[in-house]
Amino acid sequence: MAKITIPLGPQHPALKEPGNFLLTLEGESIVGATIRLGYNHRGIEKACEQRNFLQDIYLLERVCGICSHSHTTCYLGAVEEIAKLEVPKRGLAIRVLVAELERLHSHLLWLGVAGHEIGFDTLFMYAWRDREHIMDCLEMVTGNRVNYAINTVGGVRRDVTPEMKDKILKTLTVVEERANYYVELATQEVTVLARCKDVGRLPNDEAVRRCAVGPLARASGVASDVRKDDPYLLYGELDFKVITSDRCDVLGRVEVRALELFESIKILRQVLNGLPEGPIAVKAPRKVPAGEAVSRYEAPRGEDIHYVRSSGGEKPDRVKVRAPTLANWASMAYMLEGGYLADVPLVIAAIDPCFSCTDRAIAVRGDGQSGSLDWDSLRRYAREFHRSRGVDFSNVPGRV
């Protein structure tokens, strides 16, 4: 059969971010794949050199719209090491709190996207509704849904009140129950099994050879997790398991992420119930002494690594960011080759590449009047809208 080569992307309905995949096909089977990236290059590393250490936090928070806290915490790990700043324990605990809430929301988001890619849109809607509970907690703690802006040099900017603690613990009970349902789904549901089993295979030795990170590596039996291998914040003192699977396929990646929900919930309970007393931040000087540091962090998608060098001024000399998705592209061509064209979007989605999400709505009326709706009124509006059409959401399981 004659081989044909087709491009997928950079703009393609199945991709949520710009990437170019050149696929060589023999019929429906993929026999070769090359990847071209860089369409989203924004020059953030260069921009960091032109701003001071504090301004860089806000810039780096925008590297990714899903793991925004990961990048700032990773960067600050390096800056605080160079500046020899000791962040108070309560500050560290709040960083862990936001980090694990972020992992929960990110994994639920991914679960929804995976559901959508396999044509199981009910799962997409369930997962994203459950994710809203976590988003509410993040908004309550930090004041923001996406770019939390909770981190600052030397600690965090907002404290956690006892009311917030109660609300989060209550939410976790609901999310835990839902997580049970997702695990059942990932291991038993016929559609999920049929669509994910043996798709996008990455054997253990290839995952090691290609230096895969995060859930992708763990689903190929590589027990790598920066929280265990190179503990930062309070992870050295917390009790949690590294979830792995030997399945080496997309189904394994679903399983790992679903089971990681429980580990994050476990960590959150430990942090909330043992929240240390004391200040949340120390005062940091504007100038950071000369030095360099490498900081690693387990983002929801895997190992995030930042390198920072200072020459003793207010601005860094160099900030290097390597987000987890870049590390996982090295495995992508391997996972695509030998598979079917129809599985490409799912295999790509299974490494959970980053894309952004939006917030809030502006109501614009035909009579020229406009105004913004806050989240609660938007929700009330949605409930009323559906109730007036005969759909009542008040008895749906999983409501907080």
Partner: protein, 146 residues
Amino acid sequence: MEEQTRKKLEERFGADVSNFVIPRPRRMFVDVPREKLVDVARFVRQDLGITHLSTITGLDAGEKMEMLYHFSTPGLCLTLRVRLPVDDPKVPTITGVYLNAESYERETMDLLGTKVEGLPPGRRYPLPDDWPVGDHPLRKTWKKAA
């Protein structure tokens, strides 16, 4: 683990590995000449058993350019530092040892203008195809085009 690794590297490479810095537990920096880079990388992977290359940082330090190869394993993040003259920034590729080095090496070629030798043919990353030749944004002397 840091001291053990240092000893093993010194035993094998002697004066070719220098300037060991252990700023804190689980972190180590060491200087390697570019001629020895591939040998040391192979030793790190095969003898020290560090199979994970986290990333490569390229930077312009004024008189010299630096390539920092960050390797990690549970309990240690080892950084090999290669200093390159600015007028001759040639460095051998380590893709023969660490397959995933390719995109990181291409990144330093585009953004910093290093000359990585021995890379398989492939597309540039991350700058666009029509980006001017010889224009490397991460050089300290770089000026934004008007």
